[in-house]
Symmetry: C2
Subunit: 342 residues, 2 copies
């Protein structure tokens, strides 16, 4: 029998490959595989469902991840997918597989984080599974949200001329991870050494360890009477998410480097690491901000909204996906977001 290594297809190629033979049969299935969440009909409203797995040693490292933060983050990264559909999250299920290395007290810490996230976002824990693993901790979360049918925003609606917008700021979570990895390496060499995170660490570590979901934007869009034409959450870096939007919508994009929001602490930390700040925004992951497009007629509605930046424009597919640098050059943006199967 032929043996094709899973890495030859890449993460997204593998998902496409595995799901291509499936046909939807249920009249209630509005949208299946391929967006941030599935859409299920529920009368005047629609239900959106999204699910994620987090694996110890792949997605988190207990050398520097407090259990409570992990519980919080496992929830918020799923709520972020619901926000990316322009829907409000309402319920989650939270499942764990664990070895007996974990004590009840450790699990209590984990669930305290889950509970803090449920409280923060007003969502209910409605189910889950608790079982054994042969190695480490594996978390699986499913988030369920809801929106009026006309407000749900997919990846596929971007049109030529639409403005590209980004919430918050990008690159900080990646730089937070670099700080943690650096101090982990120092600690390995000399366990007596105290960690020296540096002056920009407070903000960057919070962005990495305890990210928030931009459900506030869903409320803001509703209040301002805006429905984005397309939207995705930025979990794998701006470049990767832009590719998803462009592929699903059949368009190209030009991003203005000067329009990509990067926090001051991230700017300074990037320079300390000899990294170009824009690279951390394009290729660093886990910011969980929203990337969306709006019809230019909504420009005035959006121009003065807080924590929201106009960063580029949708162009024709044949014009590709490009970055207009501060120096005036045009560079093609490379696809990122590759997960390697170990």
């Amino acid at each position: 029998m032929q043996r094709t290594d899973v890495n030859t297809l890449g993460e997204f190629g593998l998902i496409d490959h595995l799901t291509q033979g499936f046909t939807n049969r249920q009249p209630t299935t509005v949208l299946g595989v391929g967006d941030d969440a599935a859409i299920i009909d529920a009368g005047a409203e629609q239900i959106v469902v999204s699910t994620d797995m987090l694996v110890e040693g792949i997605h988190f490292d207990f050398a520097y991840t407090p259990l409570k933060h992990l519980g919080y983050k496992a929830v918020t990264v799923n709520l972020s997918d619901i926000a990316a559909m322009n829907a409000r999250p309402e319920q989650i299920t939270f499942s764990i597989a664990l070895s007996n290395r974990f004590s009840v007290e450790a699990l209590d810490e984990l669930y305290a984080g889950v509970q803090a996230a449920c409280k923060q976002y007003g969502v209910d824990l409605v189910g889950g599974d608790t079982t054994s693993s042969t190695k480490g901790l594996i978390i699986s979360v499913t988030a369920i949200g809801r929106a009026p049918a006309g407000r749900i925003t997919r990846r596929s609606g971007a049109k030529v001329g639409d403005l590209i917008c980004i919430t918050g700021n990008l690159g900080s979570a990646y730089l937070g991870l670099q700080l943690l990895e650096r101090e982990k390496a120092v600690f390995k060499d000399n366990p007596d050494m105290q960690p020296e995170m540096g002056e920009y660490a407070a903000y960057l570590l919070q962005r990495q360890l305890r990210p928030e979901a931009r459900t506030d934007m869903v409320d803001l869009f509703a209040k301002e009477g805006i429905v984005p034409t397309s939207m995705i959450d930025i979990s794998d870096g701006l470049a990767s998410e832009l590719f998803h939007i462009c592929k699903a919508s059949g368009v190209g994009a030009v991003i203005e480097e000067s329009g990509v929001p990067i926090h001051n602490d991230a700017q300074l930390q990037a320079l300390e690491f000899n990294l170009d700040p824009i690279t951390t925004a394009l290729s660093g992951g886990e910011d969980y901000e929203l990337l969306f497009t709006i019809d230019p007629k909504d420009t005035e509605k959006i121009r003065f909204l807080p924590d929201l930046y106009i960063s580029g424009e949708i162009v024709a597919r044949e014009d590709g996906i490009k970055l207009h640098t501060k120096g005036g050059n045009i560079h093609p943006i490379q696809a990122q977001g590759w997960k390697h199967f170990e």
Copy 2:
């Protein structure tokens, strides 16, 4: 810091412990943690959601589990939870974490099983996550179903005097597993030996490796105008599920040994293993049949329905949970369904 081993609480104790601090805030959350599935309001209908994790080395063993059967079973065990709510399954999400030991061809086999189950039950695959693991394969499935609000059946509605019913037959899946484990041990000792499953194997192995969900009973109940007063699927053995129903409903139960359906091949295989057939029904798991209670006024409606057996009666809580044996003795039934964290 105190360190309490997770095994001190037991599986169900641990779930109770971890979820006790959570409060529901969403008006759409009809029922949260604690039944086969959560219930979410969707107007005239309600949405039910259930989730399960399957871990290699804990829930399945590739020494004798074909990948296609595993994919099929991972789906059907979740659909069984939806059927146990008296709801019709409509959508699933299917997530995997895997090491690079798995080829694309192996995953194709797995997904062929998922697809066969989707086709068999008319459900749609609407999402999932595909990521790396550091060891083995972990599967997480979430199933979503729907029913008119008045038809949804919880664990908590059993009343004194209700009849206890069981679908299909019990113990076969457990005996199938014993056959597989026996032949695995023989193969370990002598890899040249051909497996000798014996004359009852065909049915028992099918029950273990490729179980079905009793969604047909949901249709049958609708057709006959019956709403069970309580229901649960039998994944951990009759004893364990009976305890869940009795605990949730605040009642006791008497089971007639002569009323517990056991397949002829299971009867004969049990004797070959020197096991009492009733023990395999009470304590063996993975039959995925339904255990439910009905109001005695529905007796005539149910008496002649196919593949459905009246096996006992709900009694007062203080009368306990008991087995009336064929020999005329009364034995208390012990709680089972313990998962050990390794």
